[in-house]
């Protein structure tokens, strides 16, 4: 299966995305008998209208940025990790369960909860990494299957052996105050998770561009044959990349638990791990551009609610646009290949 994921200039992609957002959005709004001007006005008002709505836009940006960085890291290594959703869910569960189970000391609580998310997501990413490195199992299918297994496993655990909350509720108990991420903007759901995500993007940019590990990872993705001849252990690189990719998505799940919900719920992600694929591709798989792409999709995600309540346009229109963006951007790889030949 596909090994390399060559990147093209982001400019063309941005044009495609803008045309899709406004073109498809307008057509959908006209079908719903809403003027596109009113519809998009409601969307942007829903994303920026009040201080609370701006905060919510940045919350969505954060929730997309973590899994998108994870996806990008794996894609750069030539690995199709489409399991960010499952890694995020497992990370969120580990964080929520640990935080609610053990009352940790104040300064330790938040780091331990986030670390639990990193480990949970990392393990869930390492499984397809090991299956690929040791048994040659294709990571696309195994990550896809592990997404569903993650939701089923956490549902089983929180309603069965590891039940903390009410019987039958698919969530853990609540996190104590000490284990909750502090607010960045008071009286909103925006926490320091936003800052952590931005710093992580900058660190990841540095790791990819300036370290030996980053070089090996990119070499394994861009030219696996050459990388192998240069002595890079492809199996080991794949395992490390998948583990890190899962750990980043798991950290994202932990920040949703510790910052937004203050407990783990099996429905904590409305598909962040899948939308993250679009975010990563629009961001050209470059961590710094992915920050910008996350903001764009964050605006769409938080504005969708305003668009539905104020202009009566069903918010699924935004999901439809995101799906089409993914289909449109799937073409970038081979367009790059054809250009290079």
């Amino acid at each position: 299966m596909t090994a390399s994921f060559t990147r093209t200039r982001a400019f063309r992609d941005v044009v495609v995305v803008i045309v899709l957002v406004f073109g498809v959005g307008s057509v959908a709004m006209l079908l719903a008998h809403v003027s596109p001007v009113d519809g998009f006005a409601a969307l942007f008002d829903g994303a920026f209208g009040t201080r609370g709505e701006i905060a919510e836009t940045l919350v969505q940006t954060t929730n997309l940025l973590f899994p998108a960085l994870g996806v990008a890291l794996a894609f750069r290594a030539g690995l199709f990790n489409i399991g960010a959703e499952g890694q995020l869910v497992i990370g969120g569960f580990a964080a929520g369960w640990l935080g609610a189970q053990f009352p940790l000391a104040g300064y330790l609580a938040v780091p331990m909860v986030l670390l639990a998310g990193v480990i949970g997501g990392g393990v869930w990413g390492a499984i397809p990494g090991v299956l690929r490195a040791r048994f040659g199992a294709n990571e696309v299918i195994s990550t896809l299957m592990l997404n569903v297994i993650a939701v089923l496993l956490t549902t089983y655990l929180v309603t069965g052996p590891l039940q903390q909350g009410n019987a039958g509720a698919s969530e853990t108990g609540p996190l104590p105050k000490a284990a909750q991420l502090p607010d960045l903007l008071s009286d909103t759901r925006l926490t320091w998770a936003f800052v952590i995500a931005i710093v992580l993007a900058i660190v990841l940019h540095w790791v990819l561009q300036r370290t030996v590990f980053g070089y090996e990872l990119r070499a394994a993705g861009d030219a696996p044959e050459a990388a192998k001849r240069a002595g890079i252990d492809l199996g080991r690189t794949a395992l490390v990349a998948m583990t890190l990719s899962g750990a980043i998505a798991g950290l994202g799940g932990a920040t949703i638990v510790a910052g937004v919900l203050h407990r783990f719920n099996t429905g904590l992600s409305p598909g962040y791990g899948f939308i993250a694929i679009a975010v990563a591709l629009v961001g050209n798989l470059e961590p710094l551009w992915i920050i910008v792409a996350s903001l764009g999709f964050g605006i769409l995600a938080s504005g969708a609610i305003g668009m539905q309540t104020e202009a009566q346009v069903p918010r699924e229109v935004v999901s439809l646009i995101i799906g089409l963006v993914i289909v449109a951007l799937a073409g970038r790889r081979v367009i790059a290949t054809m250009r290079s030949t």
Binding site: I82, V317, R332
Partner: protein, 291 residues
């Protein structure tokens, strides 16, 4: 008939009901993948078939026209993937993921447009019990037919050649891009029948999320069935059997989540080679670009 026989008959009947949509989707997946196109979009095609057949049956009052429209919708959605995978040579995994998200959202949007309510459609004229039996029998006929087509006809040989080595196929005078395109589109037609079965035969309406990941279970069945029509049908029956047993096993204390996870675990086990040698078509998932 005594109680035990009746219980066994009920389980077997329920197995057929649960397996039928999986068989259609898995057969569509087998045809697509044997031509070299990985079809992650099976779930989206099921949704297209399920939603469109209900919408058209409601509009025309004729469930047969509805079913045919469902097949056309599945073919159109598959054609988008097929066009992207052949002429544009895009990444099939990414495109298929996008197709699933777009189809689910389009159907949810369509519910609001057509019936002015989110969540579920109104009840529409359905295919009924006779239609359900016809579709169940047809699933097995389709499995046998696809087995023969793939293994005993020139077109089947061409499809398999494109899945193993498209450039060699082209050297032998086969149009690899066209062969792949039609394999995916016909696969989409077969898969969409699974969606039609769910909404218009088992039920008489479309509701959000009614396909419930069956496209992914079908993908697991394709792998567990080693990319063959009969193997995939067997895997679909196996998964359907456990779905049918779910209620009884739950009574016996087996967690339902474990039973639901079974197809996905089985696929991973098969992929990792723990259940004997499993090999995908050599060129599966690799876009073919003419030199």
């Amino acid at each position: 008939m005594n109680a035990t026989t009746a219980a066994i008959a009920a389980i077997l009947g329920l197995t057929l009901v649960k397996a039928t949509p999986l068989i259609y989707a898995a057969l569509g997946g087998v045809l697509s993948e044997r031509s070299g196109v990985v079809n992650i979009g099976l779930e989206g095609i099921l949704i297209a078939g399920a939603f469109t057949s209900v919408a058209v049956s409601g509009a025309t009052g004729n469930p047969v026209i509805g079913a045919l429209a469902g097949i056309v919708a599945g073919m159109l959605l598959a054609a988008i993937l097929a066009f992207a995978a052949t002429r544009l040579a895009v990444d099939q995994i990414v495109a298929g993921t996008g197709i699933n998200i777009a189809a689910l959202a389009a159907a949810a949007f369509g519910l609001v447009l057509v019936w002015h309510q989110p969540g579920a459609s109104h009840e529409v004229p359905a295919l009924g019990h006779t239609g359900e039996i016809v579709l169940i029998v047809l699933a097995f006929v389709a499995a046998g037919a696809l087995h023969l087509v793939l293994n005993r006809t020139p077109w089947g040989l061409r499809v398999r050649a494109c899945g193993e080595d498209p450039s060699a196929a082209e050297s032998a005078g086969i149009d690899a891009l066209a062969t792949r395109f039609w394999a995916v589109v016909i696969g989409g037609a077969i898969c969409s029948l699974g969606g039609v079965y769910l909404s218009l035969a088992e039920l008489d309406l479309y509701s959000d999320g009614m396909t419930a990941g069956r496209g992914f279970i079908a993908l697991a069945a394709v792998i567990f069935g080693r990319w063959t029509p009969l193997g995939a049908t067997g895997a679909a029956l196996f998964f359907g059997f456990f779905a049918a047993l779910q209620f009884s096993l739950q009574q016996a204390g087996v967690p339902s989540e474990l039973l639901q996870a079974l197809p996905y675990l089985a696929a991973i086990v098969a992929l990792a080679g723990f259940a004997g040698r499993v090999r995908a078509p050599a060129a599966d998932g690799i876009p073919y670009v003419r030199p």
